[in-house]
């Protein structure tokens, strides 16, 4: 059963054709990043740094709770990837 993913609006212009919402197969947030990278090469670099970790000003929520790369994605769960408050 796929996972429902919502991408940050500010990410979409960087990857022409990427939709705001999509479904993919992944058991963890890290696997979801792999799946996004496979569809849109370079997308993982925009969301994750080399630590490896989710970037400091990006937040991921799994079923409404703040998550990290290792967070499990139960079948059918919702993964929200959003931009945190930042900038000036």
């Amino acid at each position: 059963m796929p996972v429902h993913v919502t991408l940050p609006a500010a990410l979409l212009p960087l990857f022409p054709g990427a939709p705001r919402e999509l479904e993919l197969e992944a058991a963890t947030v890290a696997e979801a990043m792999d799946a996004l990278e496979a569809r849109w090469p370079g997308m993982r670099d925009r969301l994750c740094d080399s630590s490896p970790a989710i970037r400091r000003h990006i937040n991921v929520f799994v079923e409404g709770r703040r998550g990290a790369l290792e967070t499990a994605l139960p079948p059918g769960s919702r993964l929200f990837i959003i931009t945190a408050i930042s900038g000036g």
């Binding site: 960087l14 670099d45 925009r46 969301l47 080399s50 630590s51 970037r55 930042s86």
Partner: protein
């Protein structure tokens, strides 16, 4: 032949481009690069390809690329990493093309990357970060940034970098090994007996004289300097200038001894132009004598600064000189600084300027 001049304006809110056929009337377009902060943009004079380096607080560092003079853009940071467990790269700060076509990127935290496929992918040049002094490098006000990047115009193995505030470093072997080149430059912020260290100087801008790659100029946090031996030793050229502080420097495109600076009033005096009057200073004899150029520039209540990469020249004759303020005003002179005009008054913070001249 008539030439079209393209001005690449890196700002905190994207890259802008100003175009002119006569260097008098300018048309502004942008912002490009999805309004990401763009710290430096350059154009390849052979192909017209534009590269813009920057970093976004959300999405990290990238080098943007346009092969159609800014109409469309791609971006990449493939390989732009020190690897797992190492500090993530925040932003790209400087770009330079070598005579062999290699593209270099200097980043924050300070390090050097090279691309041999036109910015599609990057490889770390590890020799610089492997330098034994690196654990002692201290960040400047803008971070530990590699902001100045020079490649010898004929020998791609000879590289100079300027890092705030680690100083100037040189490699003669394509980046495998590096040596500090700061002899004669001061670090006034150190204790009195440690003001001429081997490294740790706060270089602000490093430029190369036209046609004489061993003649370098630098604007430092603590003085202005000339070197005639590729940076092995430096001589102060402060005399005749209103202060020893400033950020940018620009070398004339053809005249070896002609240099442009934009001194600010001092590091603890507010860092705006002296007496709130804007002036570009020009020397035609390697920094021995200086002339203030003010015609057309604000001479009252101008509390503005100009950042380290925000003063540049074009390649035409007479040379055009350009600077952008941290308040977002862009000024242009078509005649080597004799006369100035504000050509864009309301841009975001201007971080860098470069030009491209195209045969029209």
């Amino acid at each position: 032949m008539a030439q079209q001049t393209m001005l690449l304006i890196g700002t905190r809110k994207g890259l802008f481009i100003a175009d002119s056929a006569n260097r008098s009337d300018w048309a502004l377009r942008g912002p490009y690069c999805e309004t990401w902060p763009v710290n430096h943009a350059i154009a390849d004079p052979k192909t017209g390809t534009i590269y813009a380096g920057g970093g976004n607080e959300w999405f990290g560092p990238a080098v943007w690329k346009s092969t159609d003079q800014g109409k469309s853009w791609t971006h990449s940071s493939a390989g732009l990493s020190y690897g797992e467990g190492e500090p993530p790269i925040k932003a790209v700060w400087s770009l330079a093309l070598g005579p062999d076509g290699a593209l270099y990127a200097g980043v924050d935290p300070a390090g050097l990357f090279r691309s041999t496929d036109g910015g599609e992918s990057w490889e770390h040049v590890p020799g610089l970060r492997d330098h034994p002094t690196r654990p002692h490098w201290m960040p400047g006000g803008a971070g530990l940034i590699l902001h100045s990047l020079l490649v010898h115009p004929e020998d791609p193995n000879r590289l100079w970098v300027g890092i705030s505030s680690a100083g100037v470093f040189y490699s003669g072997d394509g980046g495998k090994s590096w040596e500090p080149r700061n002899k004669g430059t001061r670090a006034d912020y150190n204790p009195e007996d440690q003001r001429y260290p081997e490294f740790g100087q706060c270089v602000h801008s490093l430029v190369m004289a036209a046609g004489a790659p061993d003649i370098l100029y630098q604007q430092n946090h603590c003085g202005m300097y000339r070197s005639e031996d590729g940076g092995q030793s430096w001589t102060s050229i402060e005399q005749g200038l209103p202060s020893s502080f400033g950020f940018p420097a620009a070398a004339h495109p053809r005249e070896t001894g002609t240099l442009f600076l934009l001194p600010l009033n001092g590091d603890i005096a507010g860092r705006y132009v002296p007496d709130a009057k804007v002036a570009v200073y020009r020397s035609r004899d390697g920094g021995r004598n200086w002339q203030a150029l003010r015609a057309g520039l604000p001479q009252e209540n101008a509390f503005v600064g100009v950042l380290r990469q925000a003063l540049t020249t074009d390649r035409q004759s007479p040379a055009g000189i350009y600077f952008g303020t941290s308040g977002g005003q862009l000024y242009a002179s078509p005649d080597e600084g004799e006369n100035w005009r504000c050509v864009a008054p309301h841009l975001p913070v201007i971080v860098s300027l470069e030009t491209l001249s195209l045969d029209g």
